[in-house]
Symmetry: C2
Subunit: 459 residues, 2 copies
């Protein structure tokens, strides 16, 4: 029988859990400071809530759950002959969430009458994607999302960049850059190419530029109906990666004849003006006209955060979406949000040695077990210590003291207490300091205060 | 398109998340105090890790995930004709975890060389069961588990009961009872019936006694091969629910001729002696020879916690298992653990009005938005407040102040700050106390310290 976790998923040991909580707690603290409140949604959603929001590839990566009971009952042999695609919709109705944004949009529509707008929510939960497992890419990973819905104000985008810089300050991450672009500018480019209706195709292709290179992007667009003439117009945009041109000035000139581009520039300018007023000028914000983001639903400013000098790459991203709640029946509500990929942040911090010293074990005192003789008294001492809020353990078995000391060492327990026959007669305990090896006798009646003082100093 | 969550699953609003965290944080605190360390395992496991551990009914309640891609490729038309049972193993390899104990056993075997024994771990994560949704029964719910593995010491059972009483003290739950029994006594009963090999069948039937009644339990056992003679011997045990006999003394007499019962009684006696030494005599522990627990893997003491005067019923349970890691290839390791059903605790606390006043919103100050004029100055004031660790928001849109005040009220934000044209000229802010409606002018330069002092008082 298999004893490993599934490929693409991981077990977390106590230290890893502590480190993960260290990241999550810091993110939570910043979200709270900025006025965001927590919600949670279920791991499973109706499949039709999930599908159609992440593009064709995304739909395939949604984990689907087999209906309970006689799940084949709705399948005809014709379905079976037609294969997986025909059978699939008849044997599954539920999927695991792929991100937190779509469940959030569903939540907002579902609970619109209980909410006050603008609604600022944060959500920290795992998501699942049936991606091919590889180093740094997991099938189960945590997202930490913050979204504001019900306002078009550029203050929100400003605050997202501000929050990213605050979180990174807390985590000790100094070398990173925040790429920013606007889907409205990508739309203007599509318009200039005469392909206004194919914005999504353009974004999906450009999003892969880093991975597959210029040639393949051009081929993909050509395959999807972009004419040679249109791709020639696109060429200078793709070439931006190579040159040292000022991207902002270049794009302004390039899109000078496209009226709709104006709003895209204005929105970004507003955000940058806000950041300048906040003197957040050390925040490494970089305009990148080739930042596209794969997801379907963005309509305004988009951003992505990369940690430099790390193999991890992008650890956060987000953007504005104007129509996401519309598919669930609520029109005219603009939202903007972003997500930290917690697992990637973890990997980057691990790689860059940024974690502080954390100890998963909170035990302050281990009482050595000597068996039946004095058992009840040792139990009572354990209770007295715990009543003083001192985290204490009584070793469960009367094994050799050496083994018990090894346990204390492995768990990094700072003090070990011996209360044997001799000590009980004298009403004392022998206290061993595990850090420096010193021992001293302490009156049993003074044991709790002895550790109470010392445990405070440890904190 | 559906906008609700799936039946049996729930969305949690900010207050609910806070209340859930209140329960979880208190449980965590007790687990830590007793020396338990956290681990986490993935939501999905290999199906063969999960199946065969929870009985036939349990296996059916495990959510199964469809293989990615062309999942039907391994199915012949013969499989299809044979129906769901033949097709199922060919289209799924993964399931959602059903509890935290089995993944923990798998974890222990997988990581045995990194662990020190006895290993005390806690784990707080959701689990999923394809139960028919009904009031108080969910398809997704949180378990809070603590287990000790690698020791047979009765100190562990003692501490479990001790921890339950500590957690309930923290949560304000006073009316409850902890039922305790020993699978070894149920095994002795099976032996007395001449059905020693059918312990599991006996346990599964007895476990339903409350739900289906004595008659149906007898029918079920009869169907499963228990002779009339054996059921007659069982009768006085089933009748215990009716009478007022001392269960302990009765069972001792009843099992007097079964040698193997001795160890069962001794184990329980040890636990009770320990509790007596700790003067935990207010812990409402009750010996219940009819407590059976449905799960396959228990072999020693078992317990279950019921909240009295509540519709919720059982909120916690657990027991000792001697062979759970054996199925994963690691023999001779005894473990014991228990689990709080967090959602049931929540429902009970809600029903009994035990939650303290909690506010999901942490914002202390809302700055009113007056549009472009003075925008940058207000942003800068927001930043100054946040630099003083005061949780503050700038309302994102320049809507009517009345609407912005309503937002502050809904979010229970205690102070609203007006910095309009007039105030900027005077370098002051008008501060409105939302609780008593009073207003006062504060110099802009003194705003952070003004709130710093007041926010401290709020805590």
């Amino acid at each position: 029988m298999k004893v490993t976790s599934l490929k693409g998923t991981r077990d977390f040991d106590p230290l890893q859990v502590c480190r993960r909580n260290f990241i999550i707690d810091n993110i939570k603290e910043v979200f709270c400071q900025f006025g965001f409140v927590p919600i949670q949604t279920p791991a499973m959603e109706h499949l039709d809530v999930l599908l159609g929001k992440y593009g064709t590839e995304g739909d395939q990566l949604v984990f689907k759950i087999i209906n309970s009971g006689d799940f084949l009952s709705k399948c005809s042999s014709e379905d079976f002959t037609n294969g997986s695609r025909s059978v699939l919709p008849k044997i599954t109705k539920k999927g695991l969430r792929y991100d937190l944004t779509v469940p959030f949009a569903r939540y907002v529509v579902n609970h619109q009458h209980e909410l006050y707008f603008p609604f600022k929510r944060y959500q920290i939960q795992p998501v699942w994607r049936a991606d091919r497992p590889q180093k740094g890419r997991y099938q189960e990973f945590y997202q930490c999302d913050a979204d504001v819905i019900g306002t078009e104000s550029s203050i929100c985008e400003t605050e997202i960049i501000w929050m990213i810089s605050e979180v990174f300050k807390k985590l000790g991450i100094t070398d990173y850059q925040i790429l920013i672009n606007n889907r409205k500018l990508l739309a203007a480019i599509a318009e200039k190419l005469g392909m206004a209706d194919h914005l999504q195709t353009l974004c999906v292709a450009i999003d892969k530029l880093d991975k597959i290179g210029q040639q393949k992007v051009l081929e993909e667009l050509s395959d999807k109906g972009f004419s040679t003439a249109s791709l020639e117009i696109l060429q200078p945009i793709l070439d931006l990666t190579k040159g040292t041109k000022d991207h902002w000035e270049f794009l302004k000139a390039y899109l000078v004849d496209i009226d709709s581009a104006q709003k895209g520039f204005e929105e970004l300018q507003e955000i940058m003006d806000n950041l300048a007023a906040l003197k957040l000028d050390k925040v490494p914000l970089k305009f990148d006209p080739l930042l596209a983001r794969g997801l379907n639903y963005y309509t305004g400013p988009i951003f992505e955060v990369q940690i430099l000098n790390s193999k991890v790459g992008s650890v956060s991203g987000g953007g504005r979406y104007d129509n996401l709640t519309e598919v669930f029946g609520l029109k005219g509500i603009s939202g903007v949000g972003f997500s930290f990929g917690m697992d990637r942040l973890y990997d980057a911090m691990d790689e860059l040695n940024l974690f502080p010293v954390l100890n998963a074990n909170n035990t302050t005192v281990l009482i050595v077990n000597f068996g039946l003789e004095g058992h009840m008294e040792r139990l009572q001492q354990l209770q007295l210590l715990r009543n003083y809020n001192i985290n204490a353990e009584l070793y469960p078995d009367a094994t050799k003291p050496k083994k018990q000391l090894t346990y204390a060492n492995k768990k990094q327990i700072p003090w070990v207490v011996f209360i044997g026959e001799h000590e009980l007669q004298q009403q004392v305990a022998l206290v061993k300091n595990m850090k420096n090896g010193t021992q001293e006798e302490v009156k049993l009646s003074q044991l709790p205060t002895y550790f109470d003082e010392r445990a405070r100093k440890l904190d």
